[in-house]
Amino acid sequence: MDPLLSGDIGWVEVAIVLLKVVVAFAGLMIAVMLMVWFERKLVADMQNRLGPNRAGPFGILQTMADGIKLFFKEDLQPERSDPFVFKLAPYLSLVPAFLTFTVIPIAGNFSGDNDGVVTIFGQETLMQVADPQVGILLVLAMSSVAVYGVMLAGWSSGSKYPLLGSVRASAQMVSYEAALGLSVATILLISGSLSTNVIVDIQSGFNWNLWMTGFVPFIVFLMASTAELNRPPFDLVEAEQELVGGFHTEYSSIRFAMFYLAEFLNTVTMSAVIVTLFFGGPSGPIPSGAPGWIGDFVLPFIYFFAKLFVFLFIFVWFRATLPRFRYDQLMDLGWKFLIPLALGWFLIVTTVHLATENDWNIPLVIVCCIGAVGLGALLLRMSIRAAAERRLTSEAEL
């Protein structure tokens, strides 16, 4: 719970909350603008092209120019569309993308017993817009709501390609959410709290969840979040070669811009979530002699941003490198690999956690765990193979 909101709430507290909201919103907008530019430049570099280089120095204002252009374009709406839902869908896509970021701590001193609490205008607070009890569940909830944005956009367009795109989207996002949730569950086991502030605090002093949970949840989370973001190689929702523009084919003007914005916003937010969950968020070494404001704001923000940047780079790198999955490959990867892997790993981590708490014989427990999970994997493999054979014979009979 944010210390700001405990006790009496006067106008100073309200002003601080408003300030945080405004700063987060403005910061995110700028981050998205730069992210679009960064992605285009980086992909261009990786493809031996130049990328945008006309608007502003190094083309940095290209996004702004595109945005202004989109504002002035005609706002088309198909005749057979459902007018209300058609207009609602972009907001359902954009708002969750913003809301997810509210639980991300972007600064604050996490060294020692500081718990990331900073002091602004004489009030103690956390460097995140909100620290609700549900914490990280908000991220999962918002990514579920974002599915509706995509799904309703495709459905309400009254056109077949967007519909196909949205059908893919809903199936894809629902199946990868399970893997996403299971790898988050592993972290909750370690941290013992849903609050993002506590999750970051637990990781201070380089006890990063990346190795505390044994790398596997991170890999699962990275793959599942790429699918959740509908970014390449999981961009079947848009799949230009097959579906024209996917779910936003019928959108133009500022409504299209909102989808576009939401997509990049989600990329930034999801990178921030990864940093928070696995890489200790803004925590990092802070020299004891540093003045308060450097230890509270400057250094933690630099740590946070550097980590964030690495993941933004990785997401763009994925896009420049990997070809798109086929739909059955996507489903195979999600249901037959990621979910069992996340689940098996969750069981191992749970047992080891329990064993350390109760002073059991750890090596024996680990051997038993690996044996059990290996047996499970073998059974799964056999059942997958049996199902494939059954499908082949039934196809042959047809």
Partner: protein, 226 residues
Amino acid sequence: MGYLDGFKVTFKKWAGLKTETGKRITLQYPEETRPKPPRFHGRHVLNRYEDGMEKCIGCELCAGVCPAKCIYVRGRDNDPENPTSPGERYGFVYEINYLRCIHCDLCVEACPTEAITETKLFEFAFTNRSDAIYTKAELVVGDDGRPQQLPWENWDGGFDPAADTSGWMRATAPGGSDEFEGIVAWAGELGYGVRAAEGGQPLEARQAEEAAAASHHDDHDGHGGH
């Protein structure tokens, strides 16, 4: 490494670790331009003889051959006292609609007097439909033999009327065979006289190819040649 090899490739490109892989060939177009090939098909020009007479005789062969039906020509008998062209008739109306023209150059090939040729000018973005139709007054070269620059035409991109007109014709031979490359088979033009042949292809290209093949053969003689 299977799946991960691709990441290495893209990373190398990005980091420019090898200068050859990181090299970009993109040209900053409006500021930088590429030299245009000799056979470039740009906007047309109506040529005149060295004495100022128009080459066009109003035969309408260009209009007849045009697959896009973008040329409109009407011929008329010359005034015996004050002829426009050396022949019996001259092109009285000559219009090309650039909204339809596909720059196939068939009109140039059809023309019996080399009256119509294509320049290498391609930067003529007009903003209304009447500008798209070039009339005879706009197409015919001026008294100095230079094509006329219309207000919407951009000649900054290295367009040189002295070098860049009648390119196709002078790059090869009238017959289209590279055996005739470099052989002058055209009449003089107002302001420039009989222009020199414009080489570059295909004879030179063929010779270069043969030379390359020969040296390749020498280098790899032990491998059985080709």
